[in-house]
């Protein structure tokens, strides 16, 4: 019964968030682009206009035609097919990097909020030190023993962006960790890990959303950069970076072949960033009235159960609301 209710709420909330995103121009744009991306990735698993294995040495660098809608590349392969197949590699990289970033970042965040002060302080210093390592350098170091691969990109970017995420989310998380409701939860015997997941993570969601969407956008750029440097995806694996890297040295003669992957990367990165922004606004009960009402209603339904998490979570939002209003009145 409880599970069903919360699942129903989750569905409703998702629907509300998507709907409010759709009502914003930039939200609609990003949802459309991301939707097409996912669709094309799925289609490319089963079908591409030409086989990826197909090359034709007699027809290289062809201009767009009915035979090859976006022309052919330097091996005579179909550019459109490679871009379509590349979208699934990039989607995979994107999703996995976001996952790695989230997990790694939250682990670091937890370490920085540890109650053992020395441990927390050491992790702050270590993170500050590690954050100075450029992602490209990490990828280069990883590529030496493992060779270029998708995993290297995900590991290097996940590591780098996770550090960033933890560093940026720390001030807000710290504020919540020291709040009264967290202390009361702890004194009521709640476990630290439970407090972290139930109180701290939901309250830093806006920061997480934005940071993760930026990570998703940046990893698309990083993929093409690393592939260009020869430490990204392996030769023969379709990706936008691969399409870009193989054509970029011919930009003076065949600019169109460079244009397509460049355009796609720009569009995707833009919509990922816009998506993060609108998602933060729409998924925040403070600014989305519909969502707040839905939450309130579902909270009513569940009022019979004693769940400290829910209660204090609501309290946290009220705290936040107060903070926002005082800030607003101060200006």
């Amino acid at each position: 019964m409880i599970a069903m209710n919360s699942r129903r709420y989750a569905f409703r909330a998702t629907g509300i968030v998507l709907r409010s995103m759709w009502h914003r121009a930039e939200g609609r744009f990003s949802l459309l682009v991301l939707g097409v991306w996912i669709l094309v990735s799925l289609v490319s698993v089963f079908w591409t206009p030409w086989s990826l294995w197909w090359t034709d040495g007699y027809h290289v660098w062809q201009k767009p035609s009915m035979r090859h809608l976006l022309g052919t590349d330097g091996t005579g392969a179909d550019v459109l097919s490679w871009l379509m197949a590349g979208s699934r590699t990039n989607l995979l990289i994107c999703v996995l990097t976001v996952a790695v970033t989230a997990i790694f970042g939250l682990l670091l965040l937890a370490a920085m909020l540890a109650r053992a002060t020395i441990f927390a302080q050491i992790s702050v210093v270590v993170i500050d030190a590690l954050i100075s390592l450029p992602t490209v350098l990490i990828a280069l170091i990883l590529a030496v023993p493992f060779g270029p691969s998708v995993a290297v990109i995900i590991a290097a970017c996940g590591f780098g962006y996770g550090l960033n995420l933890a560093r940026i989310a720390r001030p807000q998380a710290l504020l919540i960790a020291r709040s009264g409701y967290v202390e009361s939860a702890l004194s009521n015997g709640a476990r630290a890990s439970g407090v972290f997941l139930r109180h701290i993570v939901p309250n830093i969601m806006p920061v997480l959303t934005v940071q993760l969407s930026i990570s998703a956008g940046t990893v698309v750029l990083a993929e093409s950069g690393l592939t260009y440097l020869g430490i990204g995806v392996q030769s023969g694996v379709p990706s936008w970076g691969h399409s870009l890297a193989t054509s970029v040295s011919f930009i003076n003669i065949y600019p169109l072949t460079v244009l397509w992957p460049g355009l796609i990367i720009t569009c995707i990165v833009l919509s990922l960033n816009l998506c993060g922004d609108t998602l933060r606004d729409c998924a925040d009960p403070l600014s989305n009235v519909q969502l707040r009402n839905a939450q309130f209603n579902s909270g009513q339904e569940r009022s019979g159960q004693v769940r400290s998490g829910q209660v204090s979570s609501g309290q946290a939002r009220n705290d936040q609301l107060n903070r926002v209003t005082t800030k607003g009145s101060g200006q």
């Binding site: 294995w53 090359t55 023969g236 003669i253």
Partner: protein, 576 residues
């Protein structure tokens, strides 16, 4: 008097549409028929008159005669003359202009020319520093050998004007030209030659192994050098065209890393590592290849696009080599000439002779049948040549072997199934090659081999990694590298080379070829050996790379063939 009047009348006649005037004319002519056309157009009237005057030629009538005279001034030949005169003036003017222009450009023959090259030498020490980039710029320009190569890779006289070979082919006697000098003014004689060759052998400088067969080198008088061999060596003369045959000045004191004292048409003015090498005409040059351009600047441009921009902006007048696929942006521009020259670069897709899968001859043959070399060449721009065996057209022993393993996917599939591979158990192979060759070629090979059921895993690595894995450790299935050296068939006769190719017959044939006493014998042994190698399919010779050069119109005398090995520049000129 009459003339003047006529002229006035004509102008009047021509200029006026006035009826009265024309009436007067008609009256003057006394021709009644004309009056009927009185007010019609001038031309019309004139035609009538012309008819009439021809009709009444020889008339004694005064007025008629005068009319005739007056109108003889008008006929078309005046215009023809005028037209001819105009054309003559225009043509003359153009000729004069062009003449002036050409004399102007004779005066503008540039005293300097810049040439863009790709690979830069680390330093100029030709005895200790390896690398073709050094041979390319110094041999034939700054240093000269006893003999040299011509554009077709054949041996021609240089410091030695002639030579004789003893019957047993073990003694070579070279006769030097008279009056040879180094760029520092010192005379070059047979003692310098003997010292150069002997010190190369005794100090084991770069390329000393080329003279491994030499027993002694001695000076016999000022202009005769005698080279004695331990055994006949058909490769000796060609070897002497390279570093092994260079003659240096024993007495000269200079820093070999940044300076050079040779006997060639140029001397080194300055050397900036990885940037440029400036050559200046040698004032003490003794021979017939006197430098036509005073200063030649060789600029090292590693980035292809930057190199093309340098050519377009006239920072360099010549670019050698230019990436073929990139050259279309230059060749479209009417100011440039893009041409391919012959070369000895062999893109060798080697199959590890000791590999677990590639030691099976059927597998190797299947790969050769499965590769569409023509498509590979076409995708690169089409300038490269087909190559069916280890010896390219510019080397001795060449034979067209491209028909041994033509592109035949059915045969490839058949051989693979004979070797025990099929759709459920496909042949999986690794291809490792250096990233300097680009990813395209690997992608194409993977796609071509996929069609016959071979799964190729392409690893594009740093050149150092390739050297480690393939060249040193011989740990590979398939490897791709550009073997650019000329006369390098010996690699197939060496079982320890990374090919892991061990064929006793080939080794014997090569030994016989080297010890043969005549050129034709040498070539026929090599031809036989090359055919044997190709039939064994230890590699696929993907294509014979031909070097593409682009230069600004007005540049003459730049060598196109083999210009990445030796680049004689004495004949190069640039007229802006």
């Amino acid at each position: 008097m009459l003339r003047r009047w006529d002229a006035r009348q004509i102008t009047q006649y021509q200029n006026s549409n006035d009826r009265e005037n024309i009436m007067a004319e008609n009256l003057n002519s006394g021709d009644a028929r004309s009056t009927t056309t009185g007010t019609t157009g001038l031309v019309h009237d004139d035609q009538h008159v012309a008819e009439q005057s021809t009709g009444t030629a020889g008339s004694t009538d005064d007025s008629l005669n005068s009319y005739q005279k007056r109108h003889r001034r008008v006929p078309p030949w005046i215009w023809i003359v005028a037209a001819i005169a105009a054309v003559a003036i225009i043509v003359g003017g153009v000729f004069a202009y062009r003449h002036r222009n050409s004399t102007g450009s004779v005066a503008a023959t540039s005293h300097s020319i810049s040439i863009g090259l790709k690979l830069a030498p680390t330093n100029l020490d030709i005895r200790n520093e390896t690398g073709a980039a050094l041979d390319q710029v110094l041999i034939g320009n700054v240093y000269e050998g006893l003999v040299a190569r011509d554009a077709d890779n054949a041996v021609v006289p240089a410091l030695a004007k002639s030579w004789t070979v003893s019957k047993d082919a073990k003694t070579y006697t070279f006769t030097l030209n008279a009056g040879e000098r180094f760029s520092n003014g010192d005379a070059l004689d047979s003692k310098d030659v003997a010292w150069s060759l002997n010190s190369l052998i005794s100090n084991d400088y770069v390329n000393a192994q080329a003279l491994a067969n030499v027993e002694s080198v001695s000076a016999d008088g000022a202009t005769t050098v005698v080279v004695k061999l331990k055994a006949p060596d058909a490769t000796l003369l060609w070897n002497l065209t390279g570093r092994a045959g260079l003659v240096l000045d024993e007495d000269a004191q200079y820093d070999a890393k940044t300076q050079a004292v040779g006997s060639g048409p140029y001397l080194v003015q300055s050397f900036k590592q990885n940037e440029s090498l400036t050559l200046k005409a040698n004032p003490h040059y003794w021979g017939s290849h006197k430098a036509k351009t005073q200063t030649v600047v060789l600029r090292y441009l590693t980035d292809d696009n930057a190199a093309i921009n340098a050519l377009k902006s006239n920072n360099v007048q010549v670019l050698a080599p230019i990436t073929e696929n990139l050259s279309s942006s230059v060749s479209k521009d009417g100011n440039f000439v893009v041409k391919a020259g012959d070369d000895t670069d062999k893109f060798v897709l080697a199959f590890n002779g000791a590999g677990s899968k590639t030691s099976d001859k059927r597998v190797r043959e299947a790969i050769r049948y499965a590769i569409d070399n023509k498509a590979l060449i076409s995708s690169r721009g089409g300038a490269d040549a087909m190559l069916g065996g280890p010896i390219p057209a510019l080397d001795p022993g060449y034979e067209n072997l491209t028909k041994l393993y033509p592109f035949d996917q059915a045969k490839a599939k058949k051989l693979l199934s004979e070797a025990g591979y099929n759709a459920s158990k496909p042949l999986k192979l690794d291809l490792e090659y250096a990233n300097i060759y680009g990813t395209e070629i690997g992608d194409q090979l993977r796609s071509q081999l996929k069609t016959v059921g071979i799964e190729l895993n392409v690893k594009v690595v740093e050149f150092s990694a390739w050297l480690q894995d393939v060249y040193t450790n011989k740990n590979y299935d398939l490897s791709l590298v550009d073997h650019n050296e000329s006369h390098d068939f010996y690699t197939w006769a060496n079982p320890d080379y990374y090919f892991n190719y061990d064929n006793k017959q080939v080794q014997d044939l090569y030994a016989k070829a080297v010890s043969s006493t005549t050129n034709s014998e040498y070539e026929s042994y090599l031809r036989k050996a090359a055919r044997l190698v190709s039939e064994d399919a230890p590699a696929d010779w993907l294509f014979n790379y031909r070097v593409t050069t682009a230069y600004r119109k007005g540049v003459t005398g730049f060598p196109l063939n083999l210009n990445q090995f030796q680049l004689p520049l004495w004949n190069v000129q640039y007229r802006a």
